[in-house]
């Protein structure tokens, strides 16, 4: 390979890398910069049934029902609620009061049929004993920044 051809080859590689990077940027900016919609977003701008998107929020307290293979729960952002049903593997961190991001689509009845359920955790870290003593003292409010922002 001549030196000039080798240089051309590497320049093309660099350009391809840049192009790939730009493509990734555009891909991640699909759905106008939205990775997931909150229940309030949905109330404001409803999604048509059958359109794939992600729904994010908290698992509403007392809403989880296990019905054989299927699990049902409600996603809330303290303002609006969306019912969800899902058949499949639930992550370890999934529980009531915990953050959740579900992928799927709304059905005709307005229930979100999830194809995938991911747990979202907050940015707080502490040993179990510290968490326990905070709960006992009634100071347990691990609100993440995003919840406060909403």
């Amino acid at each position: 390979m001549t030196r000039k051809r080798r240089r051309l080859y590497f320049v093309f590689a660099a350009v391809a890398v840049l192009g790939l990077a730009a493509t990734l940027v555009l891909m991640s900016f699909e759905d106008s910069l939205v990775f997931f919609r909150s229940p309030s977003d949905l109330a404001e701008k409803p999604m048509p049934a059958g359109r794939n998107f992600r729904l994010g929020g908290l698992v509403a307290e007392g809403s989880v029902v296990k019905d054989g293979v299927e699990i049902r729960f409600v996603v809330t952002d303290m303002a609006e609620n969306v019912p969800v049903r899902f058949r499949g593997l639930i992550p370890d961190l999934f529980r009531e009061g915990q953050g959740v991001v579900a992928e799927g689509q709304l059905d005709e009845q307005g229930v979100f049929v999830a194809s995938n359920v991911l747990a979202k955790h907050d940015e707080n870290y502490m040993p179990p004993e510290v968490a326990e003593s905070l709960k006992k003292a009634g100071h347990w409010e691990p609100k993440s920044e995003q919840e406060e922002a909403n």
Partner: protein, 248 residues
């Protein structure tokens, strides 16, 4: 300050400085790594929420921090090299790149290994993860550009353009978790309210961050010396060829 730094544009003087620093950075690396790993794996509790997987934080977060700060250092060095025409600045950026790329790769891989048990997936295309992947490609592209040119001063200029333009990605990465809805959680250390990490978990994190920084300085000194000597070698080889040509 700027006047003092210009003294180190002289490669020989720069190498005397790095030679002096080297034993310290090496010693610091060993000390901080040993204590960091001890606290990370043995002398720290599990997390109330994430259990023992929290220990992945001690290799994931320092790697991510290094990926960002090394790139920032490269962008600044490249700008200095471009403006003042100091080859040492360009070579500094070149020397730092492979280390930064490794840290970025580690951030992505350890992040995936942490995401699977906690989130339920190895990867999502959210703003934080996507912008980190873009950073990795920027590192690779930067390193490829140096290889693409025989004329090293042309390579330096092209590489500088890439790294400087790509620098816009750095604030994007940092604020991605605030600007967009992401799966990745917001910042735990550099927040307005102070660290949201209990001290028993913060300690190993800071020790490992220090270890990775000292390790980077150590690797950087080795690599930048190689770059400076390599440049000297190229010049001497070129002179040799020219001399032979003149003698005919």
């Amino acid at each position: 300050m700027a006047v003092d730094l210009h003294r180190f544009a002289n490669p020989a003087r720069f190498m005397r400085l790095t030679d002096a620093i080297f034993p310290w950075s090496l010693g610091l690396t060993v000390l901080l790594l040993a204590s960091g790993l001890y606290y990370a794996l043995i002398a720290s509790p599990q997390d109330y929420q994430q259990g023992e997987t929290v220990r992945i934080m001690f290799v994931h977060v320092p790697a991510a921090w290094m990926a960002l700060s090394v790139y920032s250092m490269m962008a600044i060095s490249a700008a200095v090299g471009w403006i003042w025409k100091h080859p040492v600045a360009d070579l500094s950026a070149k020397a730092a790149a492979p280390a930064g790329a490794c840290f970025c790769f580690l951030a992505l891989v350890t992040g995936a290994l942490w995401g699977q048990p906690m989130w339920g997936t190895y990867w999502v295309w959210d703003a934080r993860l996507t912008s980190m992947l873009i950073l990795f490609f920027l590192y690779l592209g930067y390193m490829a550009i140096w290889e693409a040119f025989d004329d090293q001063s042309k390579a330096a200029k092209a590489a500088a353009i890439l790294v400087i333009i790509g620098a816009i990605n750095i604030p994007v990465i940092k604020f991605s978790v605030d600007w967009w809805n992401t799966l990745h959680q917001p910042a735990s250390v550099a927040t307005m309210e102070g660290p949201k990490i209990h001290s028993s978990i913060l300690t190993p994190l800071l020790l490992m961050a220090g270890a990775y920084t000292a390790l980077f300085v150590t690797i950087f000194i080795i690599r930048v010396k190689a770059e400076i000597l390599d440049r000297r070698l190229r010049i001497m080889r070129m002179n040799q060829v020219q001399e032979k040509g003149l003698k005919g």
